[in-house]
């Protein structure tokens, strides 16, 4: 039996759904003792949902002397403290922007082995599966040294209930602020958008979208789908979309349940960023577009006709 810490991420006061897959990955049918690590901050402990998925101990961490929300460096140090006090053998988190950052800070500080963006993990053999060459191939790695630190790509492990009774533990740390790194502000540049790397559905467009304004038809469809909007490198480089929306080798690696590619031919680099999607649908005017040879469903048609029609079909479906 291993003692595994799971770094729990919250969005506002909500427990992110992606946490549950990570818990299931660590659970291995009750083979391990699971600790949910949460920072205190006026949020409910989420004990009920966490114990349903197999968490044995809900550890709420509070810090005085420093504002850890404004320093990921100090947050990492607080987590290292907790890991050593609880004698954890492993730490698992989500490979989200925040998760990747914290896990890497902890591993670097502890000189511990780390694998990020994993699509599979096995604690018994200390192995992980992760992508290589930006998703062009997969590889199996063995991690040696302790603690074993791993970040899972969101949505890759389906959550599986494993009800237990969880115990609540509070852990208080006093630390001094080194003040060498400080988060000054958090700016929202676009409102109400779903994070691409954690999205369950993504609809994205390539060069044929033609302008930034035309992305509106995708945004409308995304709203009907509950999806995030992405873009190909070509669309980003032409200034139709910001870099933060780019999916592909030099952009974001995404793993939604459904990926709808509109007017994207399907370059090696684009596939590298989205081939981990469960279902890929392509919409393209060119019947010979490479994407049609490597996806699940295809629609031959102009995105300017197909996307609005799809939005309408989805809205109608909702009413029915």
């Amino acid at each position: 039996m291993m003692k595994i810490g799971i770094l729990i991420e919250t969005a506002a006061t909500q427990l992110k759904k992606t946490n549950l897959g990570a818990i299931s990955a660590a659970c291995q049918n009750g083979a391990n003792e699971l600790f949910a690590l949460i920072f205190a901050g006026g949020i409910a402990t989420h004990q009920e949902i966490l114990q349903t998925y197999g968490i044995h101990k809900v550890v709420t961490i509070s810090v005085s002397g420093a504002d850890v929300d404004r320093s990921p460096e100090l947050k990492a140090r607080a987590l290292i403290d907790v890991m050593s006090a609880l004698k954890l053998d492993a730490l698992l988190g989500i490979s989200s922007t925040a998760g990747r950052d914290l896990l890497a800070r902890i591993a670097a500080e502890l000189d511990a082995p780390l694998a990020l963006d994993c699509v599979g993990v096995d604690f018994t053999s200390a192995t992980v599966i992760k992508s290589q060459f930006s998703g062009k191939t997969l590889a199996l790695f063995k991690l040696s040294g302790t603690p074993f630190i791993c970040g899972l790509r969101p949505n890759v492990i389906p959550p599986k209930m494993f009800p237990v009774i969880a115990e609540n533990i509070s852990y208080h740390i006093t630390m001094e602020d080194t003040r060498r790194l400080l988060i000054r502000t958090i700016k929202k540049t676009a409102a109400d958008e779903i994070d691409l790397t954690e999205a369950e559905i993504i609809i994205s467009a390539g060069r044929p979208i033609g302008s930034a304004e035309n992305f509106k038809i995708l945004k409308d469809c995304a709203k009907a789908l509950g999806a995030a909007v992405g873009a190909s490198r070509a669309a980003v480089d032409l200034g139709f979309a910001p870099h933060s929306m780019q999916v592909g080798q030099t952009g974001k690696t995404v793993s939604p349940n459904l990926y709808i590619a509109c007017g994207i031919s399907g370059s090696v680099q684009h596939f590298a960023g989205m081939k981990g999607s469960r279902v890929i649908v392509a919409i393209n005017t060119d019947p010979d577009a490479p994407i049609f040879y490597k996806c699940n469903y295809g629609i031959r048609g102009d995105l300017f006709e197909v996307v609005p029609a799809l939005t309408e079909a989805l809205q109608k479906q909702r009413i029915l």
Binding site: Q132, L138, K188, T197, V268
Partner: protein, 256 residues
């Protein structure tokens, strides 16, 4: 100001990777600078240009072929380079970061270290953090905006869905760069010619006094990700096809 840039030579992003055995792949025809490291090189040069003084040193761990990448960086404006000769296919991020750390420490005392947020080949995503820990410096990764004023570095990083975090940190520090930070410059012939004469120091990795690694991430085997078959093409009018697609989406959601 002494600025170091850590870069890696990687297979061209357009290339397919052909697996030859459990741990071998075909030597790619074209090798390039890791795209995320290009932003690091560009930013280092811009900092030096704005300061009007200083030196930019590029450091890499790799085979002899990496010399061409260093010459490209020289043509962009980097002053000199250090090539730690090693078989990087046998090294994990812990070992690579330690080699970079020792090569830099042996050369001088860094005020700023720039490096790409990750490599596009081995995708370890941790070198910036391990370098920072080795030098006991603060680090911010995935930086899309950089400003240096009165010894304080102000950066911005994307934290998903268009949200940006503004962070201040003190010098010396490590900055992990990503797309959006700048536009890496093109090299021109006069600079390419000048690049031939810039200093390039080669060190064998065995000459560095590397600290023993506490942990290790070892490649067991590569395996291809299962490819999808040809798409099922939906038939009918646009309206009919989108109705079918809406139905498929509903079923996909239900099956999860």
């Amino acid at each position: 100001m002494r600025i170091y840039v850590c870069a890696k030579q990687v297979p061209d992003t357009a290339a397919s990777i052909t697996l030859l055995g459990p741990r071998e792949y075909e030597n790619p025809a074209k090798l390039v600078m890791n795209p995320f490291d290009e932003f690091a090189v560009e930013q280092a040069i811009q900092v030096k240009e704005q300061a009007g003084t200083g030196e930019v040193v590029i450091v890499t761990v790799g085979g002899i072929s990496a010399e061409s990448m260093l010459r490209t960086a020289f043509a962009m404006g980097v002053d000199r380079g250090i090539l730690v000769i090693a078989d990087i296919r046998q090294m994990d991020s812990i070992a690579t970061a330690e080699a970079l750390h020792q090569a830099i420490a042996q050369d001088g005392s860094p005020d700023l270290i720039f490096t790409g947020k990750q490599s596009v080949d081995s995708e370890g995503m941790q070198i910036p953090y391990r370098l920072a820990a080795a030098f006991n410096m603060p680090i911010v990764n995935e930086v899309v905006r950089f400003l240096l004023e009165n010894n304080t570095v102000s950066v911005e990083r994307e934290i998903g869905s268009g949200i940006r975090e503004a962070v201040d940190l003190t010098l010396p520090c490590v900055i992990g760069t990503t797309k959006g930070l700048n536009e890496p410059r093109y090299t021109r012939l006069p600079e390419i010619l000048k690049a031939r004469t810039k200093e390039l120091k080669k060190i064998d990795i065995n000459e560095l006094e590397l600290a023993p690694a506490a942990g290790k991430v070892e490649l067991i085997k590569f395996f291809p990700e299962p490819e999808r078959d040809q798409a099922v093409m939906l038939q009918g009018s646009i309206r009919e096809m989108t109705l079918q697609l809406a139905e498929l989406i509903k079923n996909t959601e239900r099956s999860l």
